[in-house]
Subunit: 236 residues, 2 copies
DNA sequence: GTTGCCGGAGTGTGATCACAAAAGCCTTCG
DNA sequence: CGAAGGCTTTTGTGATCACACTCCGGCAAC
């Protein structure tokens, strides 16, 4: 059972938006593993609301391909990642996110860069402690505090959608290999480039960062596909 | 009143999927103009269903930014296009769609190419008759019969989402300037390149095709923004 | 004639009920 | 002991109702 609490303090926001945010966050953080099946009613009960707002939130997530509804049977679950699909996600990420970083460069302030340093510090701390969740959270914060500066809503949402789809699997891969063997990221490079205002360098570093991270997952997918050609479905 | 009929023959598909398809098609074809406000109940009544499936379809369209829910007032409407937003849409289209065309090249069959010729013929016919709707339909068919061959679901859906957002405005711009002054497309170039199997040439032609088409709209937006800085909202 | 107000109509949202279909469990038979 | 079939539970879906809020109409006061 995946427990996801609802922020009871925010009264003006629509319930289905709150539900959506919670679920989206859980997915990006990989708190819901691939092939995990969920149900409207169980989620609703866990959140203390009626199934109605959950339906709308889930409908959005299905539209973003962060969840899927199996065609023949009617179960709702987190999609699995095929190699083909992951390749497309990698290609898309390697285009949008460097673009976002490029656009953000001119708009970075001293405070923004400081925040990046903080996020990276948290990331290193989590790494040294072997804290996968903390690592993923800090990594997400690092990337999206850059993207938020780009002032490009469309690209930002595209990046978010891509992370929604990659999240569950990223958690599995990273959790399996531990934080020790994670590839060196390019965050320090980016921070230095932001201070120089070198947009091209940032674009390149971001592309490299994503390329290496996603390649790791691609290798994991290939290995898994080879090891277990017809994997038995796990209990939901 | 926008009348959108529902296919009553397809019994096995979910109602909200049918509603979604109808609305999406209407939006891509520009049958619903920007800033046009719609309502769940009126749409439901027009489709002969309860508001329920419309809610779910609309929720998807909102997630894809093909519709928006105004924050202060709670009306549902087709979003307007700002210059900033259109620029992002152009950039995104110029990346995804050439990529899709590139991927499709190796998978094109003789029949696929024949279909492209047919679509282009319909397009020319519509152009000569000044039939804006026919033109947009044929243009959509031409592009998406290419994209469908790419076997890249993620990119395909991205392209579809982008068209959903551009559609309403494209119709306005094209309708305003008539079919006579539309820029020469690059369809013949693409067909020839497909026959040669020249993927790079196709990529370039597709990029040029989109670039010129979207530039037209960009000019229209700028002109409109200059002419009417604070346009009065039109009656819905 | 202009301005302010107020009431009805219409909006999206959430909850609840009904229903067909699939899932999962348990019994039962070989 | 293993597998197949039936039955209960659970699932997503659609319809309907209630509610708070917004918009738009006419009426009244100045």
């Amino acid at each position: 059972m995946v427990v996801i609490s609802l922020d009871t303090a925010s009264g003006d926001a629509k319930m289905h938006d709150q539900v959506y945010d919670r679920l989206a966050e859980a997915l990006i953080q990989g708190q819901i593993p691939p092939l995990k099946s969920v149900s409207l009613r169980s989620l609703a009960q866990g959140l203390g609301v009626s199934p109605m707002p959950v339906r709308e939130a889930v409908r959005r997530l299905i539209a973003e391909k962060a969840l899927e509804l199996q065609p023949s049977n009617k179960r709702l679950r987190v999609p699995d990642l095929t190699e083909k699909r992951l390749t497309q996600l990698m290609t898309a990420r390697q285009w949008v996110e460097p673009e976002l970083a490029f656009l953000a460069t001119a708009r970075m302030t001293r405070d923004s860069i400081k925040r990046l340093r903080d996020d990276d510090a948290k990331l290193m701390t989590a790494l040294s402690k072997g804290d996968v969740s903390g690592y993923m959270q800090a990594n997400q914060d690092f990337h999206f505090s850059i993207y938020a500066r780009a002032d490009a809503d469309l690209f930002y949402d595209m990046a978010r959608t891509l992370w929604l789809q990659v999240g569950p699997f990223m958690r599995v891969v990273f959790g399996r290999m531990g934080t020790v063997h994670l590839p060196k990221d390019h965050h320090q490079e980016m921070i230095a480039a932001f201070e120089r205002g070198d947009a091209e360098a940032i674009k390149a570093s971001m592309a490299a960062d994503i390329h290496e991270g996603m390649n790791l997952m691609l290798d994991a997918i290939k290995a898994q596909a080879q090891a277990e050609p017809t994997k038995r479905r796990k209990r939901g």
